[in-house]
């Protein structure tokens, strides 16, 4: 089942298109890796899909409804994000931050109902962060913070989750843990899109790669096939013989 679809979508800034005529869809249970060089438009695609930025042309539909026709609140119940930027108030406690994930559902003052508490608890169980609930965000390591941000978006309870470079700044063990976690999340019936430079690790968990490069259409393919056919090297402009 398709949760998010684009129709001849062109993204970019002003009159400068970065990637043109994107026709892709995110399906239930999929984990998709968005790969490409720096500056090619990975973050722009994520920002456009999330509705933070207008497409230059074409459209995006979420659950069959066009994104521009949905109010911010309706979008927030269908699509959640984890961005590269940190939250502004780093003295929030972990539990407070995760609770803010319930913003679209909580009462007019942010009161949590039984269901909200249950969702928060489920997010904490899934990300395994019980031991740091009372810590402040500034006390966390990068790996812990990333898991907490993922817990927040899980608490938001959306079908689609977009993550911009979720494994950057992490050590190898944390990269593997985060990718593994995202795989499980996608298998629980959500569609997950990550942008990443971690090609070989993400190839192990991703169902598909979306490859973007300057001036060419977006490429879709299974990670293994794209790696063996040399497509990945071509997309990332890696010379033969490097590494």
């Amino acid at each position: 089942m398709s949760l998010l679809q684009t129709h001849n979508l062109t993204i970019g800034y002003g009159d400068q298109p970065l990637v043109s005529d994107i026709n892709v869809s995110l399906e239930v249970g999929q984990l998709i890796g968005l790969i490409g060089q720096n500056g090619v438009g990975k973050s722009t695609l994520i920002r456009t899909l999330a509705g933070f930025q207008r497409p230059l042309s074409g459209s995006i539909s979420i659950g069959g409804i066009e994104l521009t026709k949905l109010k911010a609140k309706a979008v927030s119940k269908k699509l959640g994000v984890v961005l590269t930027e940190k939250p502004t108030a780093l003295n929030l406690s972990v539990l407070e931050l995760i609770s803010l994930g319930r913003h679209p559902y909580s009462g007019w003052l942010g009161q949590l109902k039984k269901e909200d508490v249950a969702k928060i608890e489920a997010a904490i169980v899934q990300t395994q962060i019980h031991h740091i609930l009372n810590k402040r965000l500034f006390e966390l390591s990068d790996g812990q913070l990333q898991k907490v941000m993922i817990a927040r978006v899980l608490a938001q309870d959306t079908d689609v989750i977009l993550l911009d470079e979720p494994t950057s700044h992490l050590d190898l063990r944390n990269k593997i843990e985060v990718l593994d976690l995202l795989k499980k999340i996608s298998q629980s019936g959500k569609a997950v899109l990550i942008s990443t430079h971690e090609i070989s690790l993400s190839a192990k968990v991703c169902d598909l790669f979306w490859g973007v490069d300057f001036g060419v259409p977006l490429e879709i393919g299974e990670p293994d096939k794209m790696m063996f056919s040399g497509k990945v090297k071509e997309l990332l402009h890696l010379e033969e013989g490097v590494i």
Partner: protein
């Protein structure tokens, strides 16, 4: 499991709130009792509970001067503290305060215009005191409202909060420049009148004026509490807030409107009172270690009221007839306190720092 976390924190905060409220009551009582004439605490309590005060002079002092002034101090401290909190959260900037968008400059321009034009036409100092007071209050309100309208239009057009902040700063600077030019071309007498207004004053409010200021501030404070959910979402940063379903533009307008009512009404009646709006939110965050607006709003209302009463007590120079300008006292006492807290906590993560 999680429910327990929430339950214990509710109990913990209840104690804090009751404690602060008791402190507020004590300081309030002290501010009624202490001044150029000391009134025994027993008599002050009797007065508050509606009993007869032994000395008719004491009764007159309490009802005409000290009670309205103490109430004004609480309103001013709470209003400026909350409006500072809103600006700091909205602009994610620890240096923001209630006057960051030029509200006090606008009020200043209004007052300056009334004083200087009034003097030019003549007779400004001839009209009755109460009419002159209301004229100054009205002009300050109109001045800050005009500045606010311009900021409001800008808020609808620009996307980034920082751009809006810079527009506010520029506008404030331009408005202050106009006041400077007017001062440059005017007589010593009206410059003095303007400077005295700019010192701020808690004691100049009659019951009449208080009956206008009180409902505006109290209703705005209640509305500020109702904005807690939106302000909390803004703690994540604008993009995350938007992806949590927050309508950024309308939220921004509501917050600016709320802040201008709080800071604008206080400035109109009491002059531009410095420092409190900037410092009280920081104090609250540092002392109580939270960023949650549902907690910060009542904490700042209580803390702002307490501090303003204390500042006013000091400004009275108890036991003497002289008083200090309240604006000087707030900064003189407040600044070392904030510095001491920062050094003691040695912790720069309490608000917005990375």
């Amino acid at each position: 499991m999680i429910q327990q976390h929430f339950d214990t924190s509710v109990k913990k905060w209840r104690v804090t709130f009751i404690g602060l409220f008791v402190v507020l009551c004590l300081v309030f009582l002290a501010s009624l009792a202490i001044g150029s004439v000391t009134i025994p605490l027993g008599q002050t309590t009797k007065f508050l509970t509606g009993g007869e005060v032994e000395n008719a002079g004491w009764h007159a002092i309490l009802i005409n001067f000290r009670l309205p002034k103490a109430l004004t101090a609480i309103l001013v401290g709470s209003a400026l503290g909350i409006s500072g909190l809103q600006m700091q959260t909205l602009f994610r900037n620890p240096l923001a305060g209630p006057f960051i968008l030029g509200i006090s400059s606008g009020a200043g321009l209004g007052v300056a215009l009334v004083i200087f034009i009034g003097f030019a036409i003549g007779g400004f100092f001839g009209i009755p005191d109460f009419a002159r007071n209301w004229l100054m209050v009205g002009s300050a309100a109109v001045g800050s409202f005009l500045v606010l309208s311009v900021i409001g239009v800008a808020a609808l057009r620009v996307r980034s909060g920082v751009s809006l902040l810079i527009i506010g700063l520029m506008f404030g600077a331009a408005v202050s420049a106009i006041v400077s030019i007017m001062q440059f071309f005017s007589q010593a007498e009206n410059i003095q009148a303007y400077v005295i207004w700019s010192f701020g004053s808690l004691g100049s409010l009659s019951w009449n004026e208080l009956s206008v200021l009180t409902p505006i501030v109290v209703l705005s404070l209640i509305y500020a509490f109702a904005l807690s959910k939106q302000l909390n979402a803004l703690l994540l940063g604008e993009t995350y807030a938007e992806s949590s379903g927050l309508d950024l533009k309308s939220t921004r307008i509501l917050i600016i409107l709320n802040t201008s009512l709080l800071a604008g009404s206080v400035t109109a009646f009491c002059g531009p009172i410095a420092f409190v709006g900037l410092a009280v939110p920081h104090l609250a965050r540092m002392l109580f270690n939270t960023s949650n607006h549902l907690l910060l709003t009542p904490l700042i209302v209580l803390l702002g009221g307490i501090l303003m009463l204390v500042f006013d007590l000091v400004a009275q120079l108890p036991g003497s007839d002289a008083t200090l300008p309240i604006n000087a006292v707030t900064s003189l006492l407040g600044a070392p306190f904030v510095i001491w807290l920062i050094l003691r906590k040695n912790n720069l993560h309490y608000s917005f720092d990375k």
